[in-house]
């Protein structure tokens, strides 16, 4: 139980900080797609007996690079490419797990999140990779912010836009893969995007927006996991409902 809360808090930090860049860079759909790709990794892990978390990280990163490559080479229809990858991944994951005879609880918990299944090994993996992901984001935050605001001017001032895009999707892929155990692959996108969208309603500067989004994510994860624990509900679903609730409150507070 305590383990799950530690992991949950780490994920709240990771998802909301990376989520700010995801939203500002208009990468929401990419993060959604990566969440489904990560599921393929989980499926392979479950069936082949590897650590599903590790497999999720590997497949998600690979998928992130593929998406960035396709987007830069064939800029037309990039949302269609994402839709194809998203549903393709989900289908592949379900088939792999079914063929391996493992469909039911184990996959279900990766779809919607489960706090009961967090192992000690998971805590270690998530802490290590999570710290690396967060440090990377913070190191490049001024460049990422500049590119999000004005890609062309950033480029003409010497920011390596392509490299940063790859970096961002890679970091997001890692964060998503780490998060799907607790939040679930169908719901992690919401935890990344909604706290930032809620924070944006307050119309404040960059640092404050990140802070607000972080606080919202922490509150939702804490409240969601508590609810999940008391009523034996899937944690991802309760977390997302909490974050939605906060979003609605933010909308009402900031209504003109």
């Amino acid at each position: 139980m305590q383990r799950a809360f530690i992991v949950g808090m780490i994920i709240a930090v990771l998802a909301s900080v990376s989520g700010t860049f995801v939203v500002l860079r208009r990468y929401s759909m990419i993060s959604e797609t990566l969440a489904h790709s990560a599921l393929v990794g989980v499926a392979v892990g479950l069936v082949a007996g590897f650590n599903p978390l590790w497999m999720a990280v590997i497949v998600a990163i690979f998928s992130a690079w593929l998406i960035e490559y396709l987007r830069s080479e064939f800029s037309l229809y990039s949302d269609a490419i994402l839709a194809i990858l998203l549903s393709g991944s989900l289908a592949a994951a379900v088939i792999i797990v079914s063929l391996g005879g493992a469909f039911n609880n184990s996959l279900f918990s990766y779809l919607f999140g489960s706090i009961l299944s967090v192992s000690y090994e998971d805590v270690v993996t998530i802490s290590i990779f999570g710290t690396m992901a967060l440090v990377t984001l913070l190191l490049f935050s001024k460049e990422l912010y500049f590119v999000a605001y004005d890609e062309e001017v950033a480029k003409t001032s010497g920011v390596k836009v392509k490299l940063l895009n790859f970096l961002l999707v890679s970091v997001v892929a890692i964060i998503i893969a780490l998060s799907i155990r607790v939040v679930g692959s169908l719901l992690i996108g919401a935890l990344m995007v909604i706290p930032t969208i809620a924070a944006l309603q307050f119309k404040v500067g960059f640092v404050k927006t990140v802070m607000i989004s972080l606080v919202f994510a922490l509150i939702s994860v804490f409240a969601g996991m508590t609810l999940s624990f008391h009523f034996s509900l899937p944690s991802g679903a309760t977390i997302v409902l909490c974050v939605l609730f906060i979003f609605i409150i933010s909308l009402i507070i900031n209504r003109k």
Partner: protein
């Protein structure tokens, strides 16, 4: 540093640009030397913005060669020397979480390399740039709520904060009031004469700055280059009257 003056900052040779078979720029050759103040005029759709975008590597020419400090664009590393204010600075999402200060600070992003945070010197340069553009009192305002002219001044402040050696301005004072425009022209003159900054200024307002500039380029698919400051006003009149057919002009006499 006499070396600096022997290599043009930009040198363009036989540049052509077509989109879908339509000629946008045709056989353009020109040089921009260190510490020159250059004005570019021409009718709407003449290709001024396109030419600038090619100098900055944002669009690729169909044929022809562009060199910056004697290097091909893709081999050039010191982009931090360039301050660029694009034509439409207001295309950006009004919900973007940025204060005026956040935006001007972006000008310092690539000056210090990755991993470093803002130093005292950065802060001073940001402050000075904001003072020059008279936006200090807007520092904590959200950029999304500014008026068009205010926002334009903020964009110029960001370019100035990067302490550029070359300032490229694409009709930066659209929507800026008369008094601010006058101050801005005075500032450009000062930056050029006192600080030796090379200025490339796209404008329709040639009369006011005619005495300040060294060369005038008229771009209307082809380029007409007026090298003689004393003749600039008559050049401008001719160019407007005859468009690109004004071969009477001093066409690239000083070459080689």
């Amino acid at each position: 540093m006499p070396m600096k003056f022997s290599v043009p900052i930009f040198s363009v040779r036989n540049l052509n640009f077509n989109i879908k078979g339509q000629k946008i720029l045709s056989n353009i050759s020109l040089d921009i030397l260190a510490s020159e103040y250059i004005a570019i005029i021409g009718p709407n759709g003449g290709g001024k913005t396109t030419l600038i975008r090619m100098l900055l590597g944002l669009d690729k020419p169909t044929t022809g060669e562009i060199k910056i400090f004697g290097k091909r664009l893709k081999d050039f590393k010191k982009w931090y020397k360039i301050g660029y204010v694009p034509q439409r600075a207001s295309h950006v999402d009004s919900a973007f979480p940025a204060t005026v200060l956040d935006i001007v600070k972006m000008g310092r992003t690539t000056q210090r390399g990755y991993f470093s945070s803002f130093s005292k010197e950065d802060k001073k340069l940001v402050h000075d740039a904001m003072q020059k553009m008279d936006v200090l009192d807007l520092a904590d305002k959200m950029v999304g709520i500014l008026s068009g002219g205010q926002r334009q001044r903020v964009m110029i402040a960001r370019a100035l904060a990067s302490k550029p050696e070359i300032l490229i301005l694409d009709e930066p004072n659209t929507g800026v009031d008369m008094l601010s425009q006058k101050n801005f022209y005075a500032l450009l003159k000062q930056l050029n004469k006192e600080d030796g900054i090379t200025i490339v200024f796209i404008t329709h307002d040639i009369g006011v700055i005619a005495d300040d500039i060294a060369k005038l380029f008229t771009i209307n698919q082809k380029a007409v280059i007026c090298n003689d400051p004393k003749q600039i006003l008559s050049c401008a009149d001719m160019s407007e009257l005859y468009g690109i057919e004004a071969h009477l002009l001093h066409n690239h006499k000083h070459e080689h």
